[in-house]
């Protein structure tokens, strides 16, 4: 095994640029996250690495195999869970799994150990057609099917979109287990709390430019401005007022508070306090906080 190595990969669809000279090196057994807005080329990158699409230029290897020359061998060594549910809707849960096993010349029994933790959760429904499963169950079945041939590298394109918060945590617990078994995982996600669970993340921007690659901790540390959480009684008017405030650099809603950066720091906080009081806001609190991955993401956009 030799991880995933991407060198200067570019891809255009007509006049639309999907990826621009992307280079990434992902080590064996690494849990690597791809985050970025819609249209940042994440799906295109997955499709190139799984040999389903040819790049316009650049090269890449998966498990030490070339994505163009060795495509047949790569297909035996990787598992892929596309963003859109791609199993056979009119086959049952069990039929889907044994179909994917047989395509790879193996059986459910041979690799049951690897998928057991996930499969037991959907086993009560093994005679149900895949099309009749709810979102969370489909995700679990898709993961089983991507794993049934014991791949060395797993590509997961937004596996938890539409999945509730409890099931998302369970899904990521499963990824941790797979990682401990030495499987390299490349995963994209729109949830920034999930990005924090990766070993490293790459931040892609629109038109497929890679902005940074770092550990979650490293990305958080790169946020180089003081950040404040502001709360008051009427939160939406507060957001509008904070945006109007002349000292504001940026302000975004973050659940139960608004995250604010200022053009100049110390002096403005005191000024802002009295400004908000003047505007009639009550129960105003302004608290200095550490930036999270989501703050960094928004800051880079």
């Amino acid at each position: 095994m030799n991880g995933v190595h991407i060198q200067n990969i570019s891809k255009k669809y007509g006049s639309v640029t999907a990826l621009q000279t992307i280079s990434l090196n992902i080590g064996d057994g690494e849990l690597f996250g791809l985050i970025g807005p819609d249209g940042a080329g994440k799906t295109t990158l997955f499709r190139i690495l799984t040999t389903l699409l040819l790049p316009d230029s650049g090269s890449a290897s998966v498990c030490g195999l070339d994505i163009i020359k060795d495509l047949k061998e790569i297909r035996m060594r990787v598992g892929y869970m596309p963003g859109r549910f791609s199993l056979y809707q009119d086959l049952t849960v069990e039929e889907n799994l044994s179909f994917f096993a047989s395509v790879f010349n193996t059986t459910i029994a041979d690799n049951y150990e690897l998928v057991r933790d996930i499969y037991v959760q959907i086993e009560p429904f093994k005679h149900r057609r895949a099309g009749k499963l709810s979102g969370g169950m489909k995700q679990k079945l898709a993961l089983c099917c991507a794993l049934i041939h014991r791949p060395d590298v797993l590509f997961l394109d937004e596996p938890t979109t539409g999945v509730d918060p409890v099931s998302r945590v369970e899904f990521w617990d499963m990824l941790d287990k797979l990682k401990r078994q030495g499987i390299t995982i490349l995963v994209s996600t729109p949830y920034m709390d999930e990005a924090s669970r990766c070993d490293r993340i790459a931040l892609l921007m629109r038109s497929g430019v890679c902005l940074s690659v770092d550990t979650p901790e490293g990305i958080r540390r790169s946020f180089n401005k003081p950040l404040y959480a502001v709360r008051a009684k009427n939160m939406y008017p507060l957001l509008e007022e904070l945006r109007n405030y002349e000292g504001t650099l940026s302000c975004y809603a973050f659940g139960d508070s608004h995250h604010l950066t200022l053009k100049s720091y110390k002096k403005d906080i005191i000024h802002l306090q009295s400004y908000l009081k003047e505007k009639g806001f009550t129960n105003v609190t302004i608290e200095s906080i550490e930036a999270g991955i989501e703050d960094c993401f928004i800051n880079e956009m």
Binding site: T161, G162, V169, P190, A253
Partner: protein, 246 residues
């Protein structure tokens, strides 16, 4: 405050399976109401009954003043609906989608023309007027779908996971649209799996195994469940679920 949604022991069974189990709640006019729950808790089934798309097994409900058993067509005229999966026609252009939905909701040609300009300007889509919806980024599509869902200024708009898969910046822009609609008096009934978005709601309910297990403002729920945020509230409740996600 007037209630625009009222339910009393509303129930839906499929064979021996009770998908929605005697839910009773009210939503006030102009409110942003968060309808939360795990996958398979019964949210979509409940929403379909409220939208007049599915007849309840028992219980009562009125939506925009209309009965969910007898006045389903009236309900449909007075609500808007968008889901993550389907809301716009991918193979129609941006302006064609606006015209189609405007037409369905009975707007005049003049009104549709005015709405088209308004939407394109407000969403920054002027240069995309002739673009196939198919090739718009998901976030833009969702913002356009929301605008189209309220094109007829309905009493209530139902949003089923409108921000699923949408990036952090675009999700916030989407919520600004909700706030603006709310300021115009449109009630928002929204499901989401993003717990920061639950904090933006005036009140939320959390469904577990077909029943409403919690119903209050986010701040009151955090006190009740001794939680720091809505994510912890959700985990505390949803972990109790007995029913396997169906």
């Amino acid at each position: 405050m007037k209630n625009v949604i009222e339910t009393d022991r509303l129930t839906k069974r499929f064979g021996i399976f009770t998908a929605v189990d005697q839910i009773s709640f009210e939503v006030e006019e102009g409110e942003i109401f968060g309808f939360l729950g795990a996958n398979g808790a019964g949210k979509t089934t409940a929403m379909r009954m409220l939208c007049g798309l599915s007849v309840p097994t028992s219980g009562k409900a009125r939506v925009a003043g209309f009965d969910v058993y007898k006045q389903q067509e009236e309900i449909k005229k007075h609500i808007g609906y968008m889901s993550q999966k389907f809301s716009l026609y991918n193979d129609l252009k941006v302006w064609e989608n606006i015209r189609l939905f405007g037409g369905i909701y009975g707007l005049s040609k003049k009104q549709i023309a005015a709405k088209t300009e308004e939407f394109l300007y407000a969403l920054g889509l002027e240069s995309e007027r002739d673009t196939m919806v198919n090739s718009l980024p998901l976030g833009w599509k969702q913002k356009l779908a929301f605008s189209v869902a309220v094109i007829h200024e309905p009493r209530i708009v139902f949003l089923d996971e409108p921000t699923g898969g949408v990036d952090p910046v675009t999700r916030r822009q989407f919520w600004e649209l909700i706030y603006q609609a709310s300021a115009r008096g449109i009630t928002t009934f929204v499901t989401t799996h993003y717990m920061d978005e639950a904090e933006y709601c005036n009140r939320v309910s959390i469904m577990v195994d077909g029943r409403i297990e919690a119903f209050n403002t986010p701040s009151a729920l955090k006190i009740t469940f001794k939680a720091n945020n809505m994510n912890e509230v959700f985990h505390a409740l949803a972990r109790k679920a007995q029913r396997i996600d169906n």
